[in-house]
């Protein structure tokens, strides 16, 4: 699946993460919650891959599985040339500095009983043998990098605002000079006016340190802003993966189309003229996914075939992948970046 050009930093092939369900008198294994079910993707060095989808579709699970925070059910993950899919704990521990994570809820992801210096310094304690003073110096550097006042070092998380807390989380992720960071909805819990601050910071840091992001979010507009390529997930599977402008300009998969259409436009004039695709029904449970195409229960275009055969996730154009029976090689509309022109301020 690798595209020409830079070789991918992260390569995920057929990743599966199933949570077993036990039931009955003897707690037998009766099924699985297929939180992530066979996804493949590449993330190139220094790019941002956006991962979007509705709540519960498996984004966080995918993000955590990629970092091997779970023992995965199947598939392979290669990060920076090392296959980490079933590497042992100790080796994995030594690889941790390369890959880090930023979490959704800045309040929940910081231990309320540790000081900021303690939190940011924790990775340093684990992986570097620095003296106390050196460590503090490094903590201060990191705080500078994320725009936190050094005098905050001895405070506790609850004494900060949401945006500041997220900066602490980012500083912690940066502490070990990682190459790859999974950002699991880093802005979802923040107020609109603060979201922008954090996104800007992430962009600056990427530029400064050449970071690679897997940016998970359900905020499509934010993803459009930050990501280079975007993957859309639905019920444990990736249904579409494409460069940003192509995806937003001309979504191929019916789900992507509906998703984009559902995002309201902050412009009353345009909003009133826009056509909406309203999906009916709810997302099925991942423990009991429909036969055939996962999306068939809600898809406005679903036909018989969709209820029988699972569509293959395949390349339909250069760098564009999708899993839909109706988006054949023939049906490709060439992406026109007409709507999504980039404007530099």
């Amino acid at each position: 699946m690798s595209d020409a050009g830079a070789s991918p930093l992260v390569q995920v092939r057929g990743l599966k993460m199933h949570f077993p369900i036990y039931a009955g008198i003897f707690r037998r294994h009766v099924g699985d919650i297929k939180a992530v079910d066979d996804i493949s993707l590449d993330i190139r060095e220094s790019e941002t891959l956006g991962l979007v989808g509705e709540s519960g579709c498996g984004k966080s699970t995918a993000g955590r599985a990629v970092l091997r925070l779970y023992d995965i059910t199947g598939g392979s993950i290669t990060v920076d040339g090392t296959d980490i899919s079933d590497i042992d704990k100790e080796k994995l521990r030594h690889l941790r500095p390369k890959m880090q994570m930023i979490f959704q809820d800045p309040q929940a992801s910081l231990n309320p009983r540790m000081t900021v210096a303690g939190i940011i310094g924790e990775p340093l304690v684990e992986h570097m043998s620095l003296s106390r003073a050196e460590r503090l110096e490094r903590v201060y550097e990191l705080m500078d990098a994320v725009g936190l006042n050094r005098s905050f070092a001895n405070r506790y998380p609850h004494e900060f605002s949401g945006g500041q807390r997220q900066r602490i989380g980012i500083a912690r992720a940066l502490a070990l000079h990682p190459k790859f960071i999974v950002c699991d909805e880093p802005i979802a819990a923040l107020d609109v006016s603060i979201q922008a601050q954090v996104v800007n910071l992430l962009e600056d840091l990427q530029e400064q340190f050449g970071l690679t992001y897997l940016f998970i979010s359900h905020d499509l507009s934010m993803v459009r802003h930050i990501a280079d390529r975007v993957a859309v997930m639905y019920l444990g599977k990736i249904v579409e993966l494409a460069p940003r402008d192509e995806l937003y300009g001309a979504p191929l998969h019916p789900y992507t189309q509906a998703l984009l259409s559902a995002v309201p436009e902050p412009d009353p004039v345009r909003e009133s003229q826009r056509k909406h695709i309203i999906l009916t029904g709810d997302v099925p449970s991942p423990s009991n996914a429909p036969v055939g195409c996962n999306f068939c229960t809600r898809c406005p275009r679903a036909e018989q075939i969709c209820h029988e055969i699972e569509p293959e996730f395949r390349q339909v154009d250069k760098g564009r992948y999708t899993a839909c029976h109706f988006v054949g090689d023939t049906a490709i509309k060439t992406a026109e970046p007409t709507v999504g022109e980039t404007v530099k301020p």
């Binding site: 039931a23 009955g24 008198i25 003897f26 707690r27």
Partner: protein
């Protein structure tokens, strides 16, 4: 739910077997002796003979297996036979060393007073505790709450052997209102005798109820406090419901969920936990049976009683869980 209950019951079997074995071994190791309470005038040879006649000469595993057989096979068969009237019931039952009579009969005989007094005190305790807990929480930090807290903590911290004697001195000795000694043979046949039953129950029930109410009202209060700030309470108010409806229906039902399980878990204590109060008022229920059996080294009785308590604890644990599941539709055990 059914699956869950069955699973729990199955899991309980090894636990119970382990418990019965542990109790047996412990009791056997304990240096108590069934003949110790006999007068010193009985010479050692006679004591030894008595011991032999109690079966103490056999090795421990034989005695354990014998007990198991008697308890798990013979007793149930006997009960069945009594119900259906077949058979002679002529099996060797678990015999108490002290009274030389079947332990199960002793237990059955003591059940009524235990249930009357201890059970009633539990009911009364719960009935007092719930309103106190509710009002304390609804008016948190009001004088009612402060006094309620104080009283319930005092109730919890003063041993019943003291409160018991205190109420006896006040109400039996000084005022002469209530009998100080519980008449276990009393039969309720008419209004008169019912009044007597009430009079003789008042003091032990009150003493125990105070103790029970103290604990349960604390739980109730905490649980109410948790729920009073929930979003759905605001929803209920926004619907224009009366404050009474909001609190007594919406909040109470939710708050009762954890409390009901606490209450259910307390039930086994009814049977074994009131030892001291039973002693003070001479109610002579199961608790007193247990304590004299322990003191008298009456191994079969202690073994059987403690085992039954263990069964009760396990059963009521299960009941508590099932109640939880029934009361709280969100919980599904499978």
């Amino acid at each position: 739910m059914l699956n869950y209950s069955i699973r729990r019951l199955l899991l309980a079997i090894p636990t119970l077997i382990a418990i019965s074995l542990i109790i047996f071994l412990l009791l056997d190791l304990a240096p108590s002796d069934p003949t110790a309470n006999l007068p010193l005038t009985i010479p050692p040879e006679v004591r030894e003979k008595i011991r032999q006649s109690l079966g103490l000469g056999d090795p421990i595993y034989i005695r354990y297996l014998l007990w198991c057989k008697q308890f798990f096979v013979n007793e149930p068969l006997n009960i069945l036979e009594q119900w259906f009237g077949w058979g002679s019931g002529d099996r060797l039952r678990v015999l108490s060393w002290q009274t030389r009579s079947p332990v199960v009969d002793l237990i059955v005989e003591r059940m009524p007073q235990t249930l009357w007094v201890v059970g009633m005190s539990y009911v009364v305790g719960v009935l007092i505790a719930l309103p106190i807990g509710i009002i304390s929480a609804y008016r948190q930090y009001s004088w009612f709450d402060q006094i309620g807290t104080f009283v319930s903590m005092v109730g919890f911290s003063v041993p019943t052997f003291f409160t018991g004697v205190l109420v006896i001195v006040i109400f039996s000795v000084w005022l002469g209102w209530f009998p100080s000694i519980y008449d276990t043979t009393h039969q309720v046949t008419d209004w008169e005798s019912f009044l007597f039953q009430v009079r003789q129950m008042i003091m032990p029930v009150a003493v125990l109820a105070l103790f029970n109410a103290a604990q349960i009202s604390r739980f109730m209060r905490a649980s109410m406090l948790d729920n009073l700030n929930q979003d759905y309470v605001r929803t209920a108010r926004a619907k224009g419901l009366r404050e009474r409806t909001v609190v007594m229906i919406h909040v109470l039902r939710n708050s009762l969920i954890p409390v009901v399980t606490v209450i259910a878990l307390g039930v086994p204590q009814i049977f074994g936990g009131a030892i001291i109060t039973e002693q003070v008022f001479k109610v002579n229920g199961l608790g007193q049976l247990l304590i004299i059996s322990i003191q008298g080294g009456d191994l079969p009785t202690v073994q059987t009683l403690t085992f039954i308590f263990a069964v009760l604890i396990i059963v009521f644990n299960l009941v508590a869980d099932v109640l939880y599941g029934i009361l709280d539709p969100r919980i599904r055990y499978d």
